[in-house]
Symmetry: C2
Subunit: 238 residues, 2 copies
């Protein structure tokens, strides 16, 4: 089956968490909106095309007859179908729990540059962004990375992966969080990562996986940029 991924074509954004899972799985997929007229197809679904469940926002994934939205939901599906999550209920729930914590983390990363409204320009909320980013760096990044460090340290199967003894989709997602935060907050992350060696090691371990490494080096990997969720504004990185 060829999957169809629908996501904004010019940013990594939430779509990237899905792309990483598809790449690691070696799945056959089309990144629809990056093809000619693909954007129209994506917007038709967003506008509520007949016969398809209404979507609130990209990404959504067409998988045969299913149209699946919400990043963590898509990943739960891919995890089950591509052995990127444990098959038993306890492992499945735990993987999903960690993924939802990453989703919370991601919203907070986004809101550092858009604390007032996602429909407003950064320049129109720059003052508020400075305050929010300072709080994010001082309190929130350490809290989240500290949590994942603890999850790794306490994993009874070892500290190489977040869940059990093999890679799951949430390892890919934590890789992406660290990668994005390094882009957005290089100074802060250089400092904070020192206290979270297992998280840093996981990032390297994921980046070195053959399929992920090939993907990251390819033109399919959109570069981080100032339109995405992770953005680098010098004044926000302390």
């Amino acid at each position: 089956m060829r999957y169809e991924l629908f996501y904004w074509p010019e940013i990594q954004g939430r779509g990237e968490f899905v792309r990483l899972a598809l790449e690691e799985a070696g799945a056959d997929y089309v990144d629809v909106a990056r093809r000619a007229k693909g954007m129209d197809a994506m917007l038709r679904l967003l506008g509520g095309a007949q016969g398809a469940p209404p979507q609130f926002a990209p990404p959504y994934l067409r998988a045969g007859k299913l149209l699946i939205g919400q990043t963590a939901n898509i990943l739960a599906y891919l995890g089950a179908h591509h052995r990127l999550a444990p098959a038993n209920e306890a492992g499945r729930l735990w993987t999903n729990q960690l993924q939802l914590t990453i989703a919370d983390f991601l919203v907070e990363a986004h809101d550092t540059h858009h604390p007032i409204g996602s429909g407003l320009y950064y320049e129109d909320q720059q003052k508020e962004a400075k305050r929010r980013a300072a709080d994010f760096i001082a309190g929130r990044i350490p809290k989240y990375l500290g949590y994942f460090e603890r999850v790794l340290a306490r994993n009874q199967a070892g500290d190489k992966y977040l869940v059990g003894a093999r890679l799951t989709y949430v390892d890919l997602s934590l890789f992406q969080m660290v990668d994005g935060l390094r882009y957005g907050f290089p100074h802060a992350m250089a400092r904070i990562e020192k206290k979270h060696p297992r998280v840093t090691a996981l990032h390297g371990r994921v980046a070195a996986r053959p399929r992920i490494a090939a993907y990251l080096a390819s033109k399919h990997r959109i570069a981080f940029n100032q339109m995405g969720i992770f953005r680098h504004y010098k004044e926000l990185d302390r």
Copy 2:
């Protein structure tokens, strides 16, 4: 099996979404932190008690040997075990997708009064809160309620419930969102709800279910208050 729910004892917060599902299911549960010494038990788990998976934040639910965190994850579990969600994969994913959209909506509701940092006082971010709340009322509430109105209108089994022809946990959650928004933004909601009659009708339908009605009238239902996720600040409601 008697469930143990761990959540802050003085607010509805995220725990309320779980309570509503437990109540509708007629499940046997203890609201641990509202009992003597229960708060200690909750904080021990939050601090990383040995032998239990590290939790990032309440709520978490003990279900036999499982300790399940993240609201949407707990609800997915309860949905599967108490017939509060479809049993088939497509229905399960769709219910979870809608719940995750509610989770996004809830974060935005919270951030109207805490746009800069959840660790800071409201009074120290009141100016920013006014801007964020204005954007939330003008753009975000209508966008989210419009989405759920469309989901109801497009449900092929009728517009009484969000998923299929019977109640699921996401109906309970949408009830709670509307209830909280009415508390926080009574003027704005009186106006906005007029355009979303199906959402309003769903709220009433849920409130009238025997177990939910009994729960809402009981002392177990914590009243909305100024410590919770939904707060009423006159200056934020236009």
